[in-house]
Symmetry: none
Subunit: 221 residues, 2 copies
DNA sequence: TCGGGCATCGGGGCAGACCCTGAAATCCCG
DNA sequence: CGGGATTTCAGGGTCTGCCCCGATGCCCGA
């Protein structure tokens, strides 16, 4: 907090009371002014509309659907022309959400709650987005870089590849899939390899790519 | 807070900074005195040992293993004869943990973080356990009552096996799981084998059992 | 005390998954 | 016609997952 500058006015939205209080305390201790502390994106939009807010700190999952209410609130703010800085806080590193947040324009941030281990991190992020800058958690950045750009990953698969993936997702082995689809095992292997590639699943000693492919399929339905 | 009574002295342990700050703030606002705010069960045990603590508020999953460190800290306190009230806070409704908490004796509570929606709830819980009473989240109580013993295939799994299965379901390889849970790869293989057996997943050339295990896990949630 | 359950881990072996390389056929579009 | 996309499949090689066998240690209840 530079001497002589008015404190940034922050509105906090998180349906979890303990987190909301913790965020509020950390910001207040860091010299910011918490002008509102609410539990839904809609309430936050009301507060911002009334003016007197410089930055909004939003949880992503909130009522009513506990899905992407924070992102929606951000998108609506931008559609209505609001220039307030927006910092999104999430429990999980979700590249899709990070992309949506960044796509909403300048003055936007996306951090993981569990990785905000120092009060200074949160305060600095709020200050950055209030000045029109962007803040993204480094782990999320790494995932964004690894992940091929584009539409829904599954949309890149051919019909045959989708059929094979569906069989995988039912717990079939390659041999089982070959019998079900009247193919050779070698053919199944080729399709599986193409699926992995198109889904952007890089080989790593830490992950089990077949399971990840299945999870991608299940997650898209 | 009754007039004339000294404020209850509370120690808070949670590795997530925002939560730790939120819990501390809510307790302080409720008239309690937060005498310590730490990030591990071990640090909390040290504080309690030095005396001057009436109630400990503990997260369940903390370093070093992010498993049941809060429960372990409670159990160790009781073994060493400590009578401090202990309130456990968890992200998940885990009946096993609630059972262990209750089994540790009087002056113990188990609440879900996300369902502590009013400051008064947390303050009252702290006051209850400090007086030797018990507090359990009603949803957890309902699960304890409803829960069929041994029906659900996943209920046959030990806590460790469930941890491993959870990691599998996130797409981790055995090597990745070994790193996450600080185990040897051989240990992970053993657990995976036990999981397959307990879930009744027979080997067959047609199916991919690891994927089936993951599907069983996802289907039960 | 003993046995069972649980957790941990090692050596060794086998099979499937994955991948590289290569090939062929069909269809569609510029 | 030529090239790209899609589909199909083979040979060969590597690595991980799975499993068998073995072992140790701790805790708890009979």
């Amino acid at each position: 907090m530079q001497p002589g500058r008015p404190a940034l006015r922050v509105a906090v939205a998180d349906d979890a009371m303990l987190l909301r209080e913790g965020i509020g305390k950390v910001l207040a201790d860091g010299g910011l002014e918490v002008v509102a502390s609410v539990s839904s994106g809609e309430e936050l939009a009301d507060v911002v509309e009334k003016g007197a807010v410089d930055v909004a700190v939003l949880d992503i999952r909130m009522p009513p659907h506990f899905r992407d209410e924070g992102i929606l609130a951000l998108e609506r703010l931008r559609e209505s022309g609001s220039q307030v800085g927006v910092l999104l806080l999430s429990m999980y590193a979700t590249p899709e959400y990070a992309m949506r947040a960044l796509a909403a324009g300048a003055g936007t941030g996306y951090l993981l709650k569990e990785r905000v281990s120092e009060p200074r991190t949160l305060v600095a992020a709020v200050e950055t987005v209030s000045g029109g800058g962007s803040v993204v958690d480094p782990e999320v950045v790494a995932q964004l870089i690894q992940r091929p750009r584009g539409d829904e990953p599954l949309s890149r698969l051919t019909e045959r590849e989708l059929s094979v993936l569906e069989c995988m997702a039912q717990g079939n082995s390659n041999a089982g899939i070959s019998r079900q689809l009247f193919l050779g095992v070698k053919t199944v292997e080729t399709h599986v390899g193409n699926i992995m590639q198109k889904l952007g699943l890089k080989d790593s000693p830490d992950n089990h790519r077949r399971v990840l492919a299945v999870l991608a399929y299940l997650g898209s339905r």
